[in-house]
Symmetry: none
Subunit: 432 residues, 2 copies
C-alpha cells in the first residue's frame, strides 16, 4: 500500500461553498506513515458521478479515502456506491446500529427511521467505529488493477473524521505498508514568519537523513521533521538528536514539541508552578478565557476572566482610573497595566494578563490605527506592558494574534524570560 487518493464528496464542496480541509489533513497523516498521496478528487452528491470518481481514484492508488456522504439523508450515497463498486451487498452491522440507537437513547429520544441506514455496510468490509457520532466508517476491499485495492469511507465532519482516521484508518494503513516506517516530530513556534523559520533552520538537517517541512497554522508556525527507516530501526533516537539541534536554533520562539496550543503550554506551566491566572480582555472579548478553558482541568488554575468592552466596565469592574482612560485612552499600556493588576486583585490570582486594542474595522486613528494593541502582565510585586502593531488584517486576525501574544507573554513570564517575544520579522507583528 504505497499510494493514496483522496475523494471529497458533497455538493457544497464542488460548488465552493465549503472548503475541503479533510483531504489535506488526511494526506499529511497518510504521508507520515509512508503512504504517498497522489491525487485528489471532489465530487457532487450524485450516484453516477461518485461511481465514476471512485473508479478513477482506484486507477491512481491502492487506497482511496472518501470523506462525506455518510449522513442519514437521501443525498448521502457513499456507502451504497462503494458496495456496488465492490460487488458486495449491504448488510446491517448490528454493533453500529446498537451504537446509533444508544446515542439517541442517551438523548432520551427514539432513533429516527432514516438513521438506520447509517448502520448498513458492504458485506465483508472492516468497520471503523465512530466514538463521537452516528455514522461508522468502512474500509472495503475491491478487486481492481489485478489485485485487491481498498476504498475507505469516513464522515465529512472534521472532528469525527480525524478521530476515526487517527484511531483506526491510519494505523491500519501503516500496518500494510511494505517496509519503511516514518516518524515525525512537530515543533510549534510563535513569533517567527514561516520564511524566517526556514532561514533559521537552513542546513540544520541533511536532506538525506531527514525531511523538514513547514506549516503556518495560525497563529502558530510549525516545523516538522520526518525520518524514515526499516522496521526495528531506532528512529526516535535519531529524532532526539535532531531535536537538540533544532532547539538550539529556535531558542525561545519554540514553545512546544508537538501540536500543542499555547493555552496548553501555559496551562502546563501554571500547574507545575501551582500558580493561578486571571484575564482582563478588551479587544479579544473573551477569546483568551475561551482558549484557556478549552484545556481539560483548567479550573485548577483559571480563576476569572473579564471582558470589559466599555470604559464604564473597565472602571467599575476592574478599577481602572478615569484619569488613566482620559489621559492615555483605553488603548494604552497604562490602561493595560491597570486592567491586569485590577483583574489579578479582583480574582485573588497570582498572575493577571490583559489586552486592549483596536480590532477594527472601525475605531482606528492616525496615532492608533486598527491593529494597535497593548498587553499587560501583573504579578505579586511587579508589572509589565507593551504596545504592539499586529497589522490591519481583519478582526479575526487582530483578536487571534493579540490573544496569542498575551498567552506567550504569560509563558515567558512563567519561564523567567524577559526578552522580547516578537522579533521584527514576526510576520507583521512588532512592538510599536
Amino acid at each position: 500500500m504505497k499510494r493514496a487518493a483522496l475523494v471529497a464528496i458533497g455538493d457544497e464542496i464542488v460548488a465552493g461553498l465549503t472548503t475541503d480541509t479533510n483531504s489535506g489533513w488526511l494526506a499529511g497523516e497518510l504521508r507520515a506513515v509512508g503512504v504517498e498521496p497522489v491525487a485528489g478528487f471532489a465530487v457532487t452528491d450524485d450516484e453516477d458521478a461518485i461511481a465514476r470518481t471512485l473508479e478513477r481514484a482506484l486507477e491512481e492508488a491502492e487506497l482511496v479515502v472518501c470523506t462525506g456522504g455518510l449522513g442519514p439523508t437521501a443525498d448521502d450515497l457513499t456507502t451504497a456506491c462503494v458496495a456496488r463498486l465492490a460487488g458486495r451487498p449491504l448488510v446491517m452491522h448490528e454493533e453500529s446500529l446498537a451504537h446509533i440507537k444508544g446515542i439517541f437513547r442517551a438523548r432520551g429520544i427514539e432513533m429516527p427511521a432514516n438513521n438506520r441506514k447509517q448502520a448498513l455496510v458492504p458485506q465483508g468490509c472492516t468497520v471503523i467505529p465512530n466514538p463521537t457520532g452516528t455514522a461508522p466508517g468502512v474500509i472495503c476491499p475491491v478487486e481492481r488493477g489485478g489485485g485487491t485495492r481498498y476504498v475507505a469511507c469516513l464522515p465529512g465532519v472534521p472532528r469525527e473524521m480525524r478521530r476515526m482516521a487517527g484511531d483506526t484508518l491510519v494505523p491500519w494503513a501503516a500496518a500494510r505498508n511494505p517496509g519503511r516506517r516514518f516518524v515525525s516530530r512537530v515543533f510549534s513556534t510563535f513569533g517567527l514568519a514561516e520564511s524566517k523559520l526556514d532561514e533559521l533552520l537552513a542546513g540544520v538537517v541533511d536532506p538525506a537523513e531527514a525531511r523538514l517541512a513547514f506549516r503556518a497554522a495560525f497563529p502558530r508556525v510549525q516545523a516538522r521533521l520526518t525520518v524514515s527507516g526499516a522496521p526495528g530501526e531506532e528512529l526516535e533516537g535519531r529524532l532526539d538528536e535532531l531535536e537538540a539541534r533544532v532547539r538550539e536554533r529556535l531558542g525561545t520562539h519554540l514553545y512546544a514539541i508537538g501540536d500543542e496550543g499555547m493555552e496548553e503550554t501555559v496551562g502546563r506551566l501554571l500547574r507545575e508552578r501551582g500558580m493561578t491566572l486571571a484575564v482582563a480582555e478588551s479587544c479579544t472579548g473573551g477569546l483568551i478565557g475561551h482558549r484557556v478553558t478549552d484545556v481539560p482541568g483548567s479550573s485548577a488554575y483559571f480563576l476569572l476572566g473579564v471582558a470589559t468592552y466599555s470604559n464604564a466596565a473597565k472602571e467599575r469592574v476592574l478599577g481602572v482610573r478615569a484619569h488613566t482612560l482620559r489621559e492615555h485612552g483605553a488603548v494604552s499600556t497604562q490602561t493595560a497595566e491597570e486592567m491586569a493588576e485590577g483583574v489579578r486583585r479582583l480574582a485573588g490570582a497570582g498572575l493577571g494578563v490583559s489586552t486592549t486594542g483596536i480590532a477594527g474595522p472601525g475605531g482606528g486613528t492616525a496615532e492608533k490605527p486598527v491593529g494597535t494593541v497593548c498587553i499587560g502582565v501583573a504579578w505579586e510585586g511587579g508589572i509589565w506592558s507593551r504596545r504592539y502593531d499586529v497589522g490591519d488584517r481583519g478582526r479575526e486576525w487582530v483578536k487571534g494574534m493579540t490573544a496569542q501574544i498575551a498567552l506567550d507573554r504569560v509563558r515567558r513570564h512563567l519561564l523567567g524570560q524577559t526578552e522580547e517575544a516578537l522579533s521584527a520579522e514576526a510576520g507583521g507583528v512588532r512592538p510599536a
Copy 2:
C-alpha cells in the same frame, strides 16, 4: 457551456501542505454566471498525471479550469500538457514576452532565460493577460465529446488568478452560456438534527422546481434551496415563494436567512431594539463573549463579559449567594439566575445571560453528568432559567452547544418567544 470542472495542479496541494482555495473561489464565480461546477481534481506536478486528469475533467464538463503549474521552472508543465492534449504546437506570444521582459526591466534586471517559456502558448488559443505577474493564462479549445470544449489555465497565486479570472475568464464564460442561471438561498436553523430538518422539509419543494440540500455546520444546521432558469426569468420571486413555505415548516427553529451566525442575529436584534447585553460564563469560559465580539460594531451593545470559573469569583464578582452555591451547587438553575442578574446589574445592561455546566471530561456525577448545563436570562423585571443535557461529547462540543443555546435564548427573548428553544429531537440537546 453549462458545466465546469476545476483542476488544482501542484505537489504541495496533493500532499496536503497547501490548501487549495482557488477551486472553491472559481466555483463560486462560475456558478454565479450559470456555469455549474460539477467536479474537482487535484494533481501532482507530473506530466502524465496532469494529462490523465485533464482528460477526466473534459469527460465531465465543457469548461475545465486549471490553476497552478505556469511558473518558469522545470516542474511547471501545465501549458505544454494542454498544447499536447489539444494537438496544437506551442508558439511564442510576443505580446506576453514583451510584458514579461518589461516586468524584469522595471526591476532593473535582465529576464532570466527560463522565464521565456512562460510566453509560450498553444497556437490559436485565447491569451488571458496577467496584469500583476509574469505568466499569462490561456483558454485553449480542444475537440472532445463530439464538439469543442475548453481548457483554461490560470496561475496558482490566488491574487493573480482572481484578477485574471475576474477580468477575462468569467466574462468570457458568461458570454458563452446558452441560458440557465442558478440562484440559491440558505436557511440557518438551530435546535434540529439534520435528519429532523430533512423530515420537516419533506415534500416542501417539487424536485423539478428546486433542489434542496442540507448541511450540518456545527452548531447550526442549514438547508439550501437552489432554483435555476433562463436569463431574465424571475428567480428571486420563485425563491421568495419557496421561502414562505420553508418558514412555515421551520417556525422558530429558523433563525436567519443566509449564512449568518447566531451572534450576528443576536447583534442585529440588540441593535434594532437599542438594547445592551452582559454575559456571565462559567463552563463556556469566554466563548460567548468571544463570539459576540466577533461581530464588527459589537461595542455598541456588548458591555461586559465575565468568566467566573471558581465559586469564589461567582460570589465576589457577581454576587451569587454562598447559600445558593451550597444548597443547589454551582451547576443549578438557581446559580444561573443569580449569575445572569448579577452580571446585568454589574454592567448596567438591559439583558444578562449566563451559563454554568459541566464541560468534562472530569467533574460529572450521577445526578449531574458531563453535559449538564444551566442557562439563565435576566432582564428588567424578569428572569428565566432552564437545565439542559447536551450530552457528553467532548469539551469542545459542550462549550459550543451551551454558547449556542444561550445565544438562542437571548434571540428568543428579544423576539418575545417564550416557548422552548429545543424540541426533544434537537440532536442531542434537551431540557433536563
